[in-house]
Amino acid sequence: MAEPALKPANTQADSSPVLSLRGIQKNFGGVTAIENFSLDLHAGEIVALVGDNGAGKSTLVKIISGVHPPSEGVMELSGEAVRFADASVARERGIEVVYQDLALADQQPVYMNMFLGREPVRGPLRVLDRRGMIEATEKLVRELDVRIPSVRATIRNLSGGQRQGVAIARATHWATKLILLDEPTAALGVAETAKVEELVASLRARNIAVLIISHSLDQVFRLSDRICVLRRGRQIGVRRTNDTDKNEIIGMITGLIESEPA
C-alpha cells in the first residue's frame, strides 16, 4: 500500500503540452485501428493508456514514435506540427519508447545497449569511446537506482526486472520530451514490478512526459496522473486519476459506460 509515496507533489498539467494529438486516425487496409484520437501530454506528467486486447494501444504508441504514419490527424511536438518519416526521426526529436519485448541486444554488455545505434567515438580515427560509455552508464544507473551487478554485465545474465530497468534507463538517458512505455511490467514478478514502478514514478522529476500502457489497474492508479481509455480504437474518455475509481474505468474499458460526446 505504498500508493501515496508514488504520487506527485505537484503536476504541471496547466503548462503548454509537450505532445498534442488531434483527430488521429489509423487504418490498416479496411480496418480502423484508431479513430479520432485526441490527447495532450505535459512535461512532468504520467498518463496511462488502458483498454482491452486489440483496443489499439500499441498502435497508438507506434504512431507517436514514428513507426506508423497516422492515416489522418495532426501531431504537434512542443507546439510544432510534426510528421515522422520513421522511428529514428522521432528519436532524434526526443521521443523514446520502451517496447513490450524490450529491444535489448542480449549478448552485449549493459553499457553498449545504453548507446545502441548512438555509440560515441573519439579522435580522428573515430574509435569507440568505451570509457565514456561506461562512465555515463554508471552515472545513470546510480542516479536511477537500477540495481545491476555491473554496467559491463551481459544483458542475458540479468533478471527480467534488471533488464527492464536498463531499457527504461536507456529511454531516460535519451528522451528530452516523451517516454512511451508499452506494458513495462507485463513479464515481471511482484518485487520487480514495484522496483520498475518506482523508476517510472521518478521520471516525473525529469520534466518529460510519460505515456504508459498497462493492463494492471492497480498499477495505473498507483502511477498515473490521468487515465485515457480506448475501446476498439475509439477514445472513450480521459479522467484525472484522483477524480475517478476502478469501477468507472472498468466500465469504460468494457463498454458498460458509453463514450461521452466529444
Partner: protein, 321 residues
C-alpha cells in the same frame, strides 16, 4: 530481484572457459604433436613456419567470415570465390599489367560479395540459400573460365608480393596475415561499424529500432567476405605461382571450423578476430601433424572431421541458464 551471486559467478567462469577453449585446444594439440612427432620434423622452424604460410589464405577468409557470422548471416560461397578471383587475376596478367590483375582478383571477390549481399539485404533472401546457390554458380564459372586448365602466374613482383617474397626478412604471407588480422580486429572491436555488425546479429529488431541500418550492415559484411576471399585467391596464386579452379575447394569446412572454434557464434552477436586467427592456425597445425603421422588421406579426413566436431561442440555449448 538481485540475482543469486553464486549463479552469477558460475556463469562468468564457464563463459570464460568457453572463450579460452581455442587457446587451450591449440596448446594441447601442439604439445601432442610436439611429443609424438618430435622426430618426424614437426618442431623444426621450417615446418612450423610452413604451417603459418599455408594457413594465410584461410586466415584471411576467416576474418571475413567473423564479420558475416557476427551479423547473423552465413557465407558458403567464399571457397568458389577464391578460385574465380585467382583465375581472374591470372588471366588478366597474361595480357595486361600486373596491377590490373590485382584489381581483377580483388574486384571479382568484391563483386561476388556485393551480389550475395544485395540479394540478402534488399531481397530479404536467407544468406544460407543465397550463398549455397552462388557457391555452385561460381564453382561452375571457375571451371568454365579456363576449361579446367590451370593458368600460370609468372610475374615475379606479383609472386613476391602475394607469395614467396619478404620485407625486412618477414615473409609477405605473414605480413598479409598480420595486417588483415590487425585491421580486422580494430574494425571489429573499436568502431561503430563493428558494434553495429554485432548488434545486428544479436537482435536485428533491437538494432533496427535503434536506428542501425541493418540492411546496409548485411550488404557490407558479405561484401567484406567476398573481398577477403578475393585476397585469399591472390595469396594462393602468389604462393603456388598458378591459378586453378580447385583453389579454395576444401577451405569451406576448415574456415568455418576455425571461426567457430575461435569463439564466434554461429547465430550472431558474438565473435573474435584473434580467436579466428588461432582457430585457423590450429586447423593448419592439425593438417600438418596428421600428414606427418603418415595417415592416409581418407584417415586424415576422418580424424580431422572428428576433432573439428569435438572442438565445435565444446565451443558452441551454451552455459545452462
Amino acid at each position: 530481484m538481485a540475482m543469486n551471486t553464486s549463479t552469477m559467478g558460475n556463469l562468468t567462469r564457464r563463459f570464460d572457459l568457453q572463450q579460452w577453449v581455442v587457446y587451450l585446444g591449440f596448446l594441447a594439440i601442439f604439445l601432442f604433436f610436439a611429443i609424438t612427432l618430435g622426430d618426424s620434423g614437426f618442431l623444426t622452424v621450417r615446418n612450423l613456419s610452413n604451417i603459418v604460410l599455408q594457413t594465410a589464405p584461410a586466415t584471411v577468409m576467416a576474418v571475413g567470415l567473423v564479420f558475416v557470422l557476427s551479423a547473423g548471416e552465413i557465407d558458403l560461397s567464399f571457397g568458389s570465390t577464391v578460385a574465380v578471383a585467382a583465375l581472374a587475376a591470372a588471366v588478366v596478367m597474361q595480357s595486361w599489367p600486373m596491377p590490373l590483375g590485382i584489381l581483377a582478383g580483388l574486384g571479382a571477390g568484391l563483386l561476388i560479395g556485393l551480389i550475395n549481399g544485395a540479394l540478402v539485404a534488399y531481397l530479404r533472401l536467407p544468406s544460407f540459400l543465397v550463398t549455397l546457390a552462388t557457391m555452385g554458380l561460381f564453382a561452375g564459372i571457375a571451371r568454365s573460365m579456363t576449361n579446367l586448365r590451370s593458368v600460370p602466374v609468372q610475374n615475379d613482383l606479383f609472386t613476391g608480393i602475394f607469395g614467396s617474397g619478404a620485407l625486412l626478412s618477414i615473409p609477405s604471407l605473414v605480413l598479409w596475415t598480420a595486417g588483415v588480422i590487425l585491421i580486422g580486429h580494430l574494425v571489429y572491436r573499436q568502431t561503430r561499424f563493428g558494434a553495429h555488425v554485432i548488434a545486428t546479429g544479436d537482435n536485428p529488431r533491437a538494432a533496427l529500432v535503434s536506428g542501425i541500418k541493418v540492411a546496409r550492415i548485411r550488404l557490407t559484411v558479405l561484401a567484406i567476405s567476398g573481398l577477403m576471399a578475393g585476397l585469399a585467391g591472390l595469396l594462393y596464386a602468389g604462393r603456388l605461382q598458378a591459378a586453378r579452379y580447385t583453389l579454395g575447394e576444401t577451405d569451406l569446412m576448415t574456415v568455418i571450423a576455425a571461426v567457430i572454434v575461435g569463439g564466434t557464434a554461429l547465430n550472431g552477436g558474438k565473435g573474435s578476430i584473434i580467436g579466428a586467427l588461432v582457430g585457423s592456425l590450429l586447423m593448419g597445425m592439425l593438417n600438418n601433424g596428421l600428414i606427418l603421422m603418415g595417415l592416409s588421406v581418407s584417415d586424415q579426413m576422418i580424424v580431422r572431421g572428428l576433432i573439428i566436431l569435438g572442438a565445435v561442440a565444446v565451443s558452441l555449448r551454451e552455459p545452462n541458464r
